[in-house]
Symmetry: C2
Amino acid sequence: MNPKYKILFDKIKEYEAIVIAKHVNPDFDAIGSAYGLKILIDENFKNKKVYVVGSNIDDSKILNPDLTDEVFSKALLITCDTANLERVDFDNFDKVKEVFKIDHHVDGENFGNYKLVDVNAIACCQVIAHWAMTLNLKISKGAATHLYKGIVTDSNRFMYKNTSAQTFLVAAELMNCGIDLNEIYDSLYIRKLKIQKWINNCFQKAVFDSEIAHIKIYEKDYQNLNLTLDEIKSPLGSICGIEEIKVSILATEIDGVVKVSLRSKKIPINEIAKNHGGGGHHLAAACKLSNWKEFETLLLEVKELIARTNL
Amino acid sequence: MNPKYKILFDKIKEYEAIVIAKHVNPDFDAIGSAYGLKILIDENFKNKKVYVVGSNIDDSKILNPDLTDEVFSKALLITCDTANLERVDFDNFDKVKEVFKIDHHVDGENFGNYKLVDVNAIACCQVIAHWAMTLNLKISKGAATHLYKGIVTDSNRFMYKNTSAQTFLVAAELMNCGIDLNEIYDSLYIRKLKIQKWINNCFQKAVFDSEIAHIKIYEKDYQNLNLTLDEIKSPLGSICGIEEIKVSILATEIDGVVKVSLRSKKIPINEIAKNHGGGGHHLAAACKLSNWKEFETLLLEVKELIARTNL
């Protein structure tokens, strides 16, 4: 057993108050880690006060009226799914007693008094679920549902690279905790008709040229559609996974800047994002451009990259 | 351990020649079961001659020039992933010595001298993989890749209802056999640009009315596109999974008849397919109509069904 598993267990046991934070703009892995862990603590440790802080998945604020400075001063803070201090959705770092970081990101910043970081895990939820099953904690359907959602979304349903034997073992264990796959997938994958139409209309405008697919979205295209940022960017998926296309690009005009998302099948494209002040992974990167002219430059750079790369 | 596991093992051990058949128009579960099992036998049992018979996934014929009547007369036939005798892609039932049926379908026909049928398994590949891992057989990357593909496609990547803890345990074991997820998903999910465009164009013509989405495809729509039947029908996926839609219908004119595929979120629609000489599952059914007028009748029936069903 990973010796850090015992330390996490002991630290939770030691504190009466536990505050769980996650990253800003939380996704299902951040939310699932935080609430999954909260339920695990509530159900396996006696007499704890456990608070999840920050924002909900819809960006509304989580309310904790009885979370006072007095509570903070005796609390353990656990950060979930957050690599860097500045991304933690919590302002009272100086008020809590100790900090325990649980994460799965590579290149994370070294903060916190204790750490449980598994960069091979596809999701922070996998780290927490594996910790719980290894320590034979009771995992209720509620906790399991939260943890499974994080794993499913971060792995794109067991598709992305870091999906491992451990990912599937954890999924098997969570199934045995009584989770309802239909319910979970309905909550994650059902799309509004207006979103499907939006994706389809954007695909109609996609340009396929020199093994590059790109879609340009202007503010006027979506301004009356009442879409979230994630929804506005969702047409990117429709141009990825096409045989003839090596690099897919979505460029979205937002508040006067052009946000660019790049996806590649094999050719590393994060250097191009870096050239324009952005960054990311080899096959998924992003940057912000000041105008559409700069986007044409970026398109040319991608074209040249493909021409000189034999991948 | 399921006692039938031992019988399958002993029967394979007993025979020198083993013929493996699967259903006509094989999918990845049929092909994966057959070749996965062939490789398992080749690698775990000594001095066997193992033949997979019937068609490949592209409908080309699998050739076995040394599979003579003499071989048949001493052979064990194993049928994979095939519920009914008439669907077995093999004409020489009367020539083989014994028949072993391995399957996962409900309502299967009772044929064969021995059976290993697990109706709770999401795929026949899961039955075979679980048999192999329970008996501690060596599972090479080649066998594991075939078996994983069957599980992934029949479960729609761990999404459909019969996905279970065992499904994930088997997937974990196959991961430990060294399968390459990227390679597998690339081979299964990469779409040609013309297919993505076809899906998108069909979606543009979809009609959304009274919680029903339907797409009509005429022969002239696809006659110059060089698409397979599966490709022609692929736009159905684009109208399923939409929040406002309870029933999705794709109607395709093929050789003068109208083939109808129905998908439902909750309302059982197989009765409607039955009314028109078809059938299927509660939430996924199909039928053939003689003309477009009958399709309008079917549409009305679906509308009435939705109106009187509180689901």
